[in-house]
Every structure is written in C-alpha cells, then in structure tokens.
C-alpha cells in the first residue's frame, strides 16, 4: 500500500478557485486563467511507497513547494484528494489533522525555520513537546537525534550560534525526533553552500539506509534529485510531466522540457554500468585451449580476450603474445596464462566509479554480477559516449571499441603459429565450441 497518495490534486489561489479547476479540467491553459486565479498545482497524481525517497523536482514557480504543503494539509487542496496512510486528510477535522501531522508526517524547511529563542535541544524536542512528552524524556530523545545528525554537545547553544549547515541538522534532528514514518523535505539543502549540501545529502542517504523512512524531497537541483531519488517527479508550470527512476528520466525523457532539463545533469553520477554496458564479445571458455583463444582474437582483430568458466564465471584475461609463447612451449590449456583483470565493476556501479578502472587498463572494464558471472563490458569509448550522449542507451560505436585494445599481433604471425602447432581442422572445431 502506498504511504502517501495524491489523486488529481489541484491547488488554486485566488477568488474563483473552483472555476479555474473546471476550466483547467476542460483543457484551458493556466496562463489564460490568471484573471480568475493562480493555479499552482494542476492535476497532480502520484503514489509514494513505504521506504522510498520520492523527489519532486522543478524550477521555482513550478508548484513543487505548494504541492508538498498539500501533503500535510498546510494548504488544503482546491480539488482532488491526498491520502496519508489511507486517511483522506481533507475529510478529517483540525484536531485529527494535527494528530496526523504530529504522529505521521514531519517536515524540514528550506530556511530551517528554527525557533531562535529556544536552545538547540529545545528546538529538536519541539515536536515531542507539542505531543505532550515529559521534559526529561523529550530532552533525552532530542540529544539522541542531535547525536545522530552529528551535533552531539551542541544542545545548550542557540540556533544563531550555529552555521547554516548545522542549523539544518537541527531541523533534521527535530523532524527525526518526531519519529514519524513520513518526512517532507522542502528544498531542505538548497540554502546551504555546495560542499555542505553534498555532505548533508550523503548523511541523509546514510540515515535513510538505517531508518527506512518514506521521504518526499523537494528540490530544484537535478543532480540532487538524481543523487537522492529512488523515483523523481518532474514538475513544470504546476503539472507533473514525468515520474520515473533517475535512469528513466535521464535515458527516456517524456518530453523536450525534461530532455532539456536533464541536459546539464552530471550523467556520470546517475547512470550505472548496467545502463551503458555492452555484450562481452571477446570471451572464451577456459575449457578451450590457447589455439581457440588465439583464433578468436584474430577473428576480432584484438590482442586479448576475457576468459570465463563454463558457468560464465569471470576468470581473467589472456593476451595474444602470451598465447603464442604458450603454444610454442607446447601448452594446451589456458589456465596457466590467465591474468587477473585489473578491476571488475558491478552493474550498480555509477559511471563515475568506472573511470579509474578504465584508465588503469586498455581493456574494457568487465562487469560481473554478485555470482561473479560476466554480464557485460564497458569499453572506454562507451564510457565517454555515455557522458556526451543525450540518450544514454544508444549503442556506442562498436567498431571503434576494438581499436582500444593494444595493437594486435600481425595476423600472418598468428596463422603461422597455428599452422606450426597443429591440425587446422581440429582448431576449427574447437573454435566452433569456443564461440559464445
């Protein structure tokens, strides 16, 4: 069951709100209705599942801050319904709504919204004080959460004695101390400078992995949205234009607006190896001998090949020169000449984490799953192309990826070696088996 469910939510400011909703439903443009009222949120529907970070992203004026305020009833909706844990918050009285806020939804604000006349501890304990928790108990809870956000020992200070980042930590501690299932964060990190913002984002992710809250996070910063969001709703002019995972938004934008929006995103921090990897073409099974390996390399005009066992478990790499030496010495299995690959990646690794492995070896970075099976490779060219490509899933140029490998041994030499060391028909038969 979804934790928060918004169904066809409209929020209109002005005197003739219902008329504006009616006209919008009939398909009118909101800019033609400014005389009747300002439509801040138009026909917004989405569901937020337990334990996910749902990011609402849009530029200023897109209605995202108004939308988040309809979720805890700070603004009542003009039309449509908001259900929190199955309760339609428009249908309950003020006291019941306050109870829902106090017990189920807490909020973190853009400009912290701390009470300057109260100490940090009293601020963090505010929600509990409203709920009527005894002083000793709420102070204990406040100290616990201040510690969790890294503010141990600051409880007796006043908010003005803290830096912006620290003040927002108090805001976060205040919301966490309420122990609600749902956390609304309205541009919570937007007022902080970039380094602190990054730190806070990482801390939030860390806390979230322990706490598993349902977080609805508002931001205008796409990179922030991509970093934090399990799913992202993109808003424009009051409407939600796309809801999807960060990869969906980036690789399959719903319209030109979203495409333009994601244009500037740091793709390396959003796309994963899984999004860009290619089928591993240059592979050979270790059941084959060096002759098969060498023949495969010649076919693909490359100088090395990845070796797997028969369960596709990744073993390493063999080079053509090693193969030739090995054959000349009379070797018949590959096992002796397999070299470990410099580094393997997992499908969930971000592209940003593939640059270093990619720089350390001329070979494509092998991608292996949890069982160690080779599921794909990320050649350098693909990595670079993914950063520049507006539709990241487009196939990267295949021909050039081969060119990344070190200059292969002259094919004449390979033919010569193959002829020297054995029967051509046997080699061909082995090649049939080895081709994967």
């Amino acid at each position: 069951m979804s934790v928060v469910k918004a169904s066809n939510v409209y929020k209109v400011f002005g005197k003739r709100q219902n008329e504006v909703v009616k006209r919008l439903e009939e398909g009118a443009d909101r800019d033609d209705l400014t005389k009747l009222g300002t439509a801040a949120v138009i026909d917004a529907s989405f569901e937020v599942e337990a334990g996910e970070i749902f990011v609402v992203m849009g530029l200023s004026g897109s209605g995202k801050s108004t939308l988040i305020r309809t979720l805890n009833g700070l603004w009542p909706t003009t039309s449509g319904s908001v259900e929190v844990l199955g309760t339609d918050i428009a249908k309950i009285d003020d006291a019941a709504l306050r109870k829902v806020r106090s017990e189920h939804i807490s909020m973190v604000f853009q400009h912290f919204a701390l009470l300057p006349h109260r100490t940090v501890r009293d601020n963090a304990a505010y929600a509990l004080e409203i709920r009527g928790v005894a002083k000793a108990e709420r102070d204990k809870a406040a100290d616990k959460w201040l510690k969790a956000v890294g503010l141990e020992g600051w409880g007796d200070k006043f908010p003005e004695q803290l830096s912006g980042g620290m003040q927002q930590r108090v805001g976060l501690a205040r919301a966490l101390a309420a122990e609600t299932d749902i956390l609304l964060m309205d541009e919570a990190f937007s007022a902080l400078d970039p380094l602190i913002r990054r730190e806070m984002q990482e801390q939030l992710v860390e806390l979230q992995s322990e706490l598993q809250k349902t977080i609805i996070f508002i931001t205008h910063d796409l990179n922030e949205a991509m970093f934090l969001g399990d799913r992202i709703a993109v808003m424009r002019n009051g409407r939600i234009v796309q809801v999807g995972t960060p990869e969906d938004i980036l690789t399959d934008p719903a319209n030109d607006y979203v495409a333009q929006f994601v244009h500037d995103v740091d793709r390396a921090r959003v796309l994963t190896a899984n999004n860009v990897m290619e089928k591993a073409r240059q592979t050979v099974s270790n059941q084959n001998g060096p002759r098969v390996a060498l023949r495969s390399m010649r076919e693909s005009n490359s100088s090395a090949i990845y070796v797997m066992d028969r369960h596709r478990k990744f073993l390493g790499v063999v080079y053509d020169r090693d193969c030739i030496d090995h054959l000349r010495k009379g070797g018949t299995t590959l096992d002796e000449i397999i070299k470990p690959a410099a580094q393997t990646a997992s499908p969930d690794d971000l592209l940003i984490d593939l640059f270093l492995p990619s720089s350390e070896t001329p070979l494509p970075v092998p991608v292996t799953n949890d069982d160690g099976q080779l599921v794909g490779v990320v050649p350098r060219a693909t990595l670079l192309a993914a950063l520049g490509n507006q539709n990241g899933n487009d196939e990267a140029p295949q021909e050039e990826s081969a060119a990344e490998w070190p200059e292969p041994v002259d094919s004449g030499l390979i033919d010569q070696v193959l002829a020297e060391t054995g029967d051509a028909t046997e080699a061909d038969a082995a090649n049939e088996r080895g081709a994967l």
């Binding site: 305020r69 805890n72 604000f109 919204a113 505010y126 929600a127 409203i130």
Partner: protein, 301 residues
C-alpha cells in the same frame, strides 16, 4: 448646496447624552476604578522620599541598560527635584504608567485579533486611524461629559490617544513572523494557541516592545494635554504657565516632561532589545553565570 447641513456633531452629542443618561453606572464604575489606580500609584510615588525613587529608577536603568544610564538618571531626576517639579512629575509619571498599562492590556489582544483575522484587521484599521488623527483635545470634551473634571477624563483621553501604536505594532509583529517558522509549528501539529504562545509572540516581541515604547511616548504627550481638564501633574503646571504667561514655570515643567520622556523611552527601548545592551546588569550577570557553568562543566570533566 449651501442649505445641506448634516448635523453630525449634534447627533454624536445626543448619542453621548443618551449614553450618559442610560449607562451612567458604567462610567461611575470606570471613574471609581481609574481614580483608585491613579491614587494608589501617585501616593506611593509622592510619599516615598525622592532620593529613594531616584535610586530605584537609576537601578532599573542600570539593570536594563548600563551604569551610564543609571548615572544620567540620578543627575536628571535630581535636577527635576531641584526645580521643584518633583510632585508634579510623580503625578504625571503615575498617570502615564497607568494609562500605558491599560492601553497595552487593551492593545495587545486587539492586535493579536487583527493579525489573525483579516476581517477584524480591515475593521480595526480605520478605527485606529480615527483615534490617532482626531485632534487630541476633542477627546477631552466627551471625557469631561462622562467623567467630569479631574484625573479620570485625562486618563481616558490618554488611553484612547496612546492605544493605536500598541495595536498596530502587535499586528505588524505577528504578521511579520517568518511564515516558514509558523508552518514549522503547524507541521508538527501545534494548535493555533501553541503557535501563538510558542512561536508568534516570542518572535514578535521586539516589534511589540517597540509598540509599547510608542504607547508610553504618546501617553506622555497626552498626559500634558490632560492637564487642561484638571489632571494633576506637569501638564497642569504647563497649562497654568500658558494662562498666566509664566515663562519660568513653563520651562521648568516642560523640562520635567522632557526628562521623564527620555527616561521612559530609553528604559522601554532596552526592554525590547535586551541583546543590544551588553553592558546592562542583566546581561553581565547572565554572562557571569554562563561562565561559571562552563567552568563547572570543565572541572567536572
């Protein structure tokens, strides 16, 4: 056109006559209460030895502002004493304080109402404009009708005249509280009352205190005019000086008003922005106790 005459004044006069005939008990009760309050405070201020009062007021200046303020208080109040304006000054001070207290008691709730309710605000605003711009002397006429001659009509006129800034500043202060902070209160499930007490009033305090400062200043200005209807004090001396072309008396009574005005202004200003006065006795004591606490904490550790 010349023949059209709307007799507003006559209507108001008859309305007042009706009030006087029918709710006299109310005016009697107000007269009794107000004169009781004024009498008590005046008696205290006049009966105590001037030096005791000077000391108390100087100490208050030190507690809230600085030792320089205390020194200035001693010198200027001593000056009043030597001008033989002491009793009149204390009568005026009593009138001003009682008027200001009543005005604040009325103004703050009305200001809160205006801040929370747009309709109330729309209605209250022109009433305040009327109260502030109507020439102050005009209040004295019905005040005398209802409360006869003496200190009570002076007090009533003073309250009416001094009330508006109290209401305006309270409304302004509460409406000026950062909306996000109020939303924070709401989003944690606070009731409107909890938000008013826990968020709006504390954050609006500096503005409200500025309003109270204005109330006291206006009350002092009006207290002088109240001398015209027979309220004892510096005002009465000024009126007498005008009537008899007595410049020396006028100057001395006038200086008394100035000194009390400056004193009250400085003290109430410090009350609203305690943080701006690090030299005040309160701030010094607070720093010292914080230092001791920190020292104790380190010793413990």
């Amino acid at each position: 056109m010349e023949n059209i005459r709307i007799p507003v004044g006559t209507w108001v006069d008859s309305a007042f006559d009706w009030l006087k005939d029918n709710v006299a008990w109310f005016f009697d009760a107000v007269t009794w209460l107000f004169s009781l309050l004024i009498d008590i405070l005046t008696n205290v201020l006049v009966d105590l030895h001037p030096l005791v009062i000077i000391l108390i007021l100087a100490l208050l200046g030190w507690v809230l502002r600085s030792w320089q303020m205390a020194l200035g208080t001693v010198i200027t109040l001593f000056f009043i004493m030597t001008m033989d304006q002491w009793v009149a000054s204390m009568q005026t001070l009593a009138l001003v304080l009682i008027a200001a207290i009543i005005a604040v008691i009325v103004a703050i709730p009305v200001g809160i109402l205006a801040a929370r309710n747009d309709t109330a605000s729309t209605i209250i605003k022109p009433v305040l404009d009327f109260m502030q711009t109507m020439p102050a002397f005009v209040y004295l006429i019905p005040a005398v009708t209802f409360f006869s001659i003496g200190v009570v009509p002076g007090l009533v006129a003073t309250v009416i005249f001094a009330l508006p800034p109290g209401v305006r500043f309270t409304e302004l202060g509460i409406r000026g509280v950062d909306s996000e902070t109020v939303e924070a209160g709401q989003s944690f499930g606070a009731t409107p009352g909890q938000i008013l007490r826990g968020v709006q009033l504390p954050l609006a305090t500096p503005t409200i205190m500025a309003g109270i400062n204005q109330v006291i200043m206006l009350a002092l200005a009006m207290a002088v005019i109240a001398g015209m209807v027979g309220a004892d004090g510096l005002g009465k001396n000024v009126v007498e000086a005008i009537a008899t072309q007595n410049l020396p008396l006028g100057v001395e009574a006038g200086l008394g008003v100035v000194i009390i005005a400056v004193y009250l202004d400085r003290v109430t200003a410090a009350l609203g922005n305690a943080k701006d006065y690090p030299a005040s006795l309160v701030a010094v004591m607070r720093r010292r106790s914080a230092k001791n606490k920190a020292a104790a904490a380190t010793a413990k550790a």
